[in-house]
Symmetry: D2
Subunit: 315 residues, 4 copies
């Protein structure tokens, strides 16, 4: 990062960006009586020749954040929302190519999933149920994420998810660790392993000349492989499980070169029932809130460059 210098000015401007955050756009597509939903939360961040607005307050180079909001809604109509990634690409390209002072656009999107409400049974006394194709219930599991960055030349697409809570009720151990003066932890040979997955993965698609991935299928497959690796790894540490989850993605999905996970170890402590004359044979656990172990790492395809930052925010 280079700060922008001004003659006689001892305080300089460094990296800066602006835009409208958390534009909540819902797009309904009607295929006869069958409706489809896309439900997004879109945040725009623009960078470029923005010295004047910081130093003097001149807005001569500033496209208002309100306009970036309007653009989100207009583009939902003009381009539709095929996928969060594709929608972000349309937006990022627009800001960089249409506005001289804007050199870089970063679009972050949260996507909320919905599924159809099942129709009444055929023999229901309530009629019309099988006709209903416009009723939805929100799937509450993970929130899907994507971040599109464009500088006028190349693309960076980092997709991911947050708030996906998973648990293995066995096949997890933790022992053989360093012990110092402050160590009191007992070794564990059969423990619960639970975490709330926050993950990001970077695509190797960077150029309009390349064929773009199938973003929807990619998400579904990455999620599946990640979950299966979590389920199938006999775990000696959450670090090992994390690595297996990332490696499974890299090995299974050619379009992805880098994965980063932030995995809180959601501790489930075996409750001591002996004072009550009861034996707790790995049955009854206390699910603790805080503190929690926090395990974070980047997993890379050999030869790939690490570009996902250490800290991950959503908006």
């Amino acid at each position: 990062m280079t700060a922008t210098s001004r003659p006689g000015r001892p305080v300089l401007l460094g990296q800066n960006q602006y835009g409208k955050a958390e534009n909540r756009v819902v797009k309904i597509t009607r295929d006869g009586g069958t409706h489809h939903i896309k439900d997004l939360n879109v945040s725009v961040a623009l960078s470029g020749d923005m010295d004047d607005v910081h130093y003097s307050g001149s807005n001569a180079s500033v496209l208002p954040t309100d306009t970036t909001k309007n653009t989100v809604y207009a583009f939902a109509k003009e381009y539709g929302i095929e996928s969060a990634e594709q929608f972000g690409i349309h937006l990022a390209r627009h800001f960089v190519t249409s506005q001289e002072p804007i050199h870089r656009a970063r679009i972050r999107i949260e996507e909320y999933a919905w599924e159809r409400i099942d129709a009444s049974d055929a023999n229901s006394k309530f009629i019309g149920a099988d006709e209903v194709r416009h009723s939805f219930v929100r799937k509450g599991q993970e929130t899907r994420l994507t971040q599109i960055t464009y500088d006028g030349e190349s693309w960076e697409v980092v997709s991911g998810l947050k708030d996906l809570v998973v648990m293995n009720s066995t096949n997890s151990e933790f022992w053989g660790y360093v012990k110092d003066r402050y160590t009191t932890l007992q070794e564990a040979y059969d423990r619960i392993l639970a975490t709330e997955v926050s993950g990001r993965w970077r695509f190797n698609w960077t150029d309009d000349e390349q064929k773009a991935p199938n973003w929807e299928k990619s998400y579904e497959q990455v999620r599946k492989h990640m979950l299966q690796a979590f389920a199938e790894t006999y775990s000696l540490s959450l670090q090992q499980t994390l690595y297996q989850m990332g490696a499974r993605i890299i090995n299974s999905r050619a379009e992805i070169d880098e994965v980063r996970f932030s995995l809180p170890n959601k501790h489930h402590f075996l409750v001591d029932l002996e004072p009550f004359g009861l034996k707790n044979d790995n049955e009854v656990y206390f699910a603790a809130d805080r503190p929690y172990g926090l395990i974070e790492a980047t997993i890379l395809r050999d030869g790939a460059e690490a570009r996902i930052p250490v800290d991950l925010t959503n908006l």
Copy 2:
């Protein structure tokens, strides 16, 4: 409610209760390699002869809240967790029957649902996947709720849910309403209807002599009927939809006499795209946060008494 009077004391004690809130208990049941989870958040509230502790600080009649916590964990072992309702019944009975000063126990439980992680495909290059029966992903939709109250003689069971977000993308209108000096709303003939359902339903099981409902099946069926009524009602107001949801439950489930809903009208406003030369044919919506309409009502089986309070809290 009657306040407890004391000679010469001008300030009296009214309704009071105490206990440990939010005991997070996870129970794993192992059927060979196949594991089952129950994941609860249990809150205990006890009432009875508790004047002394308030007036003088004497704890001679006070079973510590810490003990009520221990009891939750011990009972998870001693009785298992067949259902949240059944578990609450065990706990409430215990406190009222084992402690002379305690006349009434109220157990509130939140239940978090989990589903199994799908095994790898048969032709997966990763082995062992079909053996994994101990890996779970949390279902994020609604949180299931129950409240068990026991006074030593009769039971009141109120179950419910919160955070179930639903949407109809059509078949909702709103017109023909009162207009006064402050009315600016335009009538709507095709709008999105979305809400985040918070519902409670009261069982007519009150007595150990009665056969208890199948709590698990009841929850599943109530949820299904409620969703179907939401989906299948052509709505002229959220009030009408609410009534249909409640009536469908009462008409479908003989074990339930009373339903109460608190339904925020999660407004989705059609975005005005005309300034951009675009037509918005019920396609692009802004999902607003606040303010929101809030529609609340009780629905009763004819002859039943209304007992669910106006305000509903969880813990």
Copy 3:
């Protein structure tokens, strides 16, 4: 509560209410260069002849929730916001007296407090600071609450607060309690007592003929007395402290007849430092999240009727 019966209709409507919740209104009053803020979150709930809208969807008696929102903003201009209570009284009276079908209005208000940003020091090299009387920083402590209910004849005003976190680092004990099979708690003779106060207090002003309390002063005084009672009570149980807090209010403020508190016991556990060869002389504590004791009670002036419900919600 009486359900409304309809011929041939087996499912009846019970208590119901509707309105716009969480209207965020900020009022700036300019006294020359000196500005004043009122920052409220206003929720409206109306009840009355609302059977038709539930049974048939007819909105002929329904003043739209959007209109109730507009009224909030218009009244901020027409009447100003002298206090949250006074503002709620204007609104409640308006809805009940201007709309035939509306028999009862309940206005709930959250108020967020602000304080002025201190001007630069007189000898500051930055000029103009002492002229600034329009800059504010939000006071983050408690949120002030009020609930106004009007049925066309009499008023009920219940004010209160939430999220006020307090702690005594000594002068708290807990011993002499009941011990049963599940009791493991050690008696404590010097513990931290901390809670997050949620309180409500009901005024005995019910009638326009009575002189209304000074709402602003009353809030300030109730808060002060409540905090002082918390600080000055040598506590043998949180129940005792709760009673003292309520009694102090009743004894100090003639305008208040009933108080209800919901006090989570925010446990601070003394950390066992012995494994590290250290003595913990009531110095180092772990602040736990869950579970927590939850102590709730109503305190009444002798002769007053208890009217504040067991469960307290905000909106």
Copy 4:
């Protein structure tokens, strides 16, 4: 960032760190009857030779996260908590110097402020109030933050705050901006400017040989200068205000070389009261939730290197 390569391994490990997050430690210091509180939330992240645990699950180099938790509590006793920064320095130094495989420690701390509960008035009928020096109420405004990073050679200390909500009710304009096809915003010549400050500032103290800043005084002074710059800037854009806030800090505090702010523009929209025959002379505003403008920038002392990352997380 360099990935760690292994012969024949196509998937590599990149940046990684681990530790216990959110250790809630409360320290009471007793000076006779006068008590003092430090209330922290401490998160530990350690990095170093951690390849084996990721690749094979071997914990031979892993100090358990549980031990890092114990160390936090033990150090609260051994060293006391003079300031969050000083406490973090003790911890970071310990992990890097005592554990061979650990090359870098990052300690993040949130600090919650408390103030004393005022004693009863001298003429109070309640006695003993002026003796109470152990009763506190939590100050709810901002949360103070610090991040200490140590690699065995040099220190990086970045302190800051979050959740500080500020408002100017006048002296803010926004006009003269770019207009494109999607621009509908009206220019504003007198608007409310409100934001929730999230800020971080980096100290130029990096070496044990240097005299360390007075961390407590520095925080207090930075906060004061930042607020005064917000209050005293006649704002033509939030970007300009942000720059002034950062520049004021750099110019006033020699110990700080870099500041980064993330400032959501908390929009307050003037409500259109004309439909009700009322004039809104900058009096009545709707405080919107989402979307919001988001303005982020780094401000640097001339010659300083920018090191605070674009995204800021707390834990």
